[in-house]
């Protein structure tokens, strides 16, 4: 159906992770030179990408005195777990934030995935007469929007969601891009499957739930990961709609406050009876960042491939 140059590579699953194709090409001087340059440049760039993470971890494991004296560096200075001890001395805030974020991520991903896959399926069905109308309704939102201020007024004031976790939770459930991505993934389900379901007299929802969904596991994994990452990394909507109205802020917004305001740093670890200057604020900021990001970094190696397929499949239009 699609023979364009762009669509062809994109249909292949897990691009870049298969073994390199054997090529019987003899290496001459220029080959060797290009290959060495490639290895060296890629190594340097990969290190450049990793270095800030290493420095953050090292800083969190340093003593505050050493950092004050000689600044952040690549390796831990005067190894110390003091910053983590501060965080876990009064862990109420960070645990509260973890719970809020985990609950939002789990439910948001599950509900979002369900709605997105239903919609993607219906829009993929060529015998659905309203598919173009609905696709346009969804797609148009990426072309034109009211902008931040009217949206903010509408959600906060008219819907009355200011200070309500729902303002954050609901708005992250889906994006037009994820629905288009799901629709593109649906192409991997042969249309004959749907046809055979219809011949057997199965209803449209049953065809979706029992025939299509089981074949859509890679799509569900990819889109689920994008959703989960959206919830986990969320701080923006929280800053708009939650502000300081809730006791437990979503994790990244909690981190945002720790980094940007001294009081938030103090309140997060010790309550207001400790003076700000008594805190190891530099190392504490880094340790908080590590604690807030840890799960992503730990899960990363296992989920990375799903993002690759998402990006390559999402690169073609819907």
């Amino acid at each position: 159906m699609h023979s364009s140059d762009l669509a062809r590579p994109i249909a292949t699953e897990g691009v870049g992770f298969g073994p390199a194709k054997p090529r019987a090409i003899k290496l001459d001087g220029s080959d060797l030179l290009i290959r060495s340059i490639s290895y060296i440049t890629i190594t340097l760039f990969a290190l450049f990408c990793l270095l800030p993470f290493v420095m953050m971890l090292s800083a969190s494991l340093s003593s505050e005195a050493a950092i004050m004296k000689s600044g952040f560096g690549i390796l831990p200075k005067d190894f110390s777990l003091a910053a983590y001890e501060w965080i876990f001395k009064a862990p109420k805030q960070i645990i509260g934030s973890y719970v809020v974020t985990i609950v939002m991520t789990v439910f948001g991903t599950a509900i979002g995935l369900f709605i997105i896959s239903m919609t993607g399926y219906a829009l993929h069905r060529k015998d659905f007469p309203f598919r173009n109308h609905i696709s346009f309704l969804i797609y148009f939102t990426t072309l034109f929007s009211a902008g931040l201020a009217p949206t903010f007024l509408w959600v906060a004031r008219d819907l009355g969601l200011r200070g309500n976790y729902l303002a954050v939770f609901l708005q992250l459930l889906m994006t037009p891009w994820l629905i288009i991505l799901m629709k593109n993934f649906m192409r991997t389900v042969p249309y004959e499957i749907i046809e055979s379901g219809k011949v057997d007299g199965a209803g449209d929802f049953r065809i979706f739930a029992q025939l299509c969904l089981p074949m859509m596991k890679p799509a569900l994994a990819t889109i689920g990961l994008f959703l989960a990452l959206g919830y986990w990394n969320e701080w923006y909507l929280s800053s708009l709609y939650l502000g300081s109205t809730v006791e437990f802020k979503p994790l990244q917004y909690h981190l945002y406050n720790i980094i940007n305001t001294a009081n938030a740093l103090r309140n997060s670890v010790a309550g207001s009876n400790v003076s700000v200057t008594a805190l190891p604020s530099n190392t504490l900021k880094m340790a908080s960042a590590i604690v807030a990001t840890g799960p992503i970094l730990l899960l990363y190696p296992f989920v990375q491939k799903y993002f690759v397929s998402g990006i390559t499949i999402g690169a073609v239009k819907g």
Binding site: I34, T41, F45, M68, G71, I134, P150, K317
Partner: protein, 313 residues
């Protein structure tokens, strides 16, 4: 694709509704979502033409015509914001695509599977983190008292730099951070395109005695051209929209840097959140939406003329 369709002639709308009610129902949650969160706020854009106050509401507030826009134009603010947004995006698009293509080509030259896997994992990692963390990293590197850069300068006997008050340094910093965060991710599309190039082209080139450089120059790069053109055109279509999270977490409310760092998104966010200024922010937002809309339509029109298959609609 016709298979079981036995209908003759066009069906009435009611018949279509009845036949596809289940599929329609499956779309209802998404339709409600987009209506509530994307369409219902649209009438609020009217605020741009009013002197909005809470008590009178959106349509009760006094109408002022284009006054809000006049103010934005006369104060020069609209020009600064537009210039910053567009220049940053241009730098991101040009440098980003060059780097992404270079990385993709070099990844293709790499033969060791474990090396490829490991380096890709490292290069994608910055894309996975929240922009708040990007702010933390910038603080780690750049702050005056303990930042790693100043630590290095002090060690080598120099005087530390007040980076957070030197506006001139920030275009470079923001561009570097953007490239750091998005190059690995962006290279995936190009890498996929390279994997899709017909292998026999390379074999033919080798038989003809082409060197590795010549194979890149005369096979890989020309094959990437369509992908490149399409990606750049669509990126240009979105040139009025900035990466809010990146700019806000790097610069935030630091007014000393605004001249070189303030983009439309950060300015609107600040107006709404810390100044409660809904009229000017709505005007800027409407201007951005309309201008952006025209650009996307133009980009799509051009893409359509190049190759219909790639057009968005």
């Amino acid at each position: 694709m016709s298979g079981t369709d036995t209908s003759r002639g066009p069906k009435s709308i009611w018949r279509q509704l009845a036949d596809s009610k289940v599929l329609l129902l499956m779309c209802v949650p998404a339709i409600i979502f987009f209506i509530v969160f994307n369409y219902m706020p649209l009438p609020g854009a009217w605020i741009a033409f009013t002197n909005f106050n809470y008590r009178d509401g959106i349509f009760g507030s006094p109408f002022v015509g284009f006054k809000n826009f006049e103010f934005l134009i006369k104060s020069g603010q609209l020009w600064t914001l537009t210039r910053n947004t567009i220049l940053y995006n241009l730098a991101f698009i040009v440098l980003g695509n060059i780097l992404q293509i270079a990385i993709a080509i070099m990844l293709n030259e790499v033969r060791l599977a474990w090396f490829k896997k490991l380096s890709q994992a490292a290069m994608f990692l910055p894309f996975f983190i929240s922009s708040v963390l990007v702010g933390v990293i910038a603080f780690n590197l750049l702050n005056y008292d303990t930042g790693a850069l100043n630590a290095l300068i002090k060690q080598t006997g120099g005087d530390p730099i007040k980076i957070y008050s030197s506006a001139g340094a920030w275009p470079l910093i923001i561009i570097m951070v953007h490239l750091w965060q998005s190059t690995g991710y962006g290279s995936i599309v190009y890498f996929a395109a390279i994997m899709g190039i017909d292998r026999s082209l390379y074999e033919a080139a080798t038989v003809d005695g082409a060197s590795a450089w010549q194979r890149i120059r005369f096979v890989t790069l020309p094959s990437l051209k369509p992908t490149f053109i399409i990606l750049v055109l669509f990126a240009l279509g979105g040139i009025m929209h900035g990466n809010f999270g990146l700019f806000w977490n790097l610069v935030g409310n630091n007014a000393a840097l605004f001249q070189t760092t303030d983009i439309i998104e950060t300015s609107v966010y600040r107006m709404v959140l810390s100044q409660n200024n809904f009229t000017t922010s709505t005007a800027v937002g409407l201007y951005q939406s309309l201008f952006g809309f025209a650009l996307v339509m133009t980009a799509n029109w051009i893409v359509r003329r190049i190759n219909k298959d790639y057009a968005l609609f």
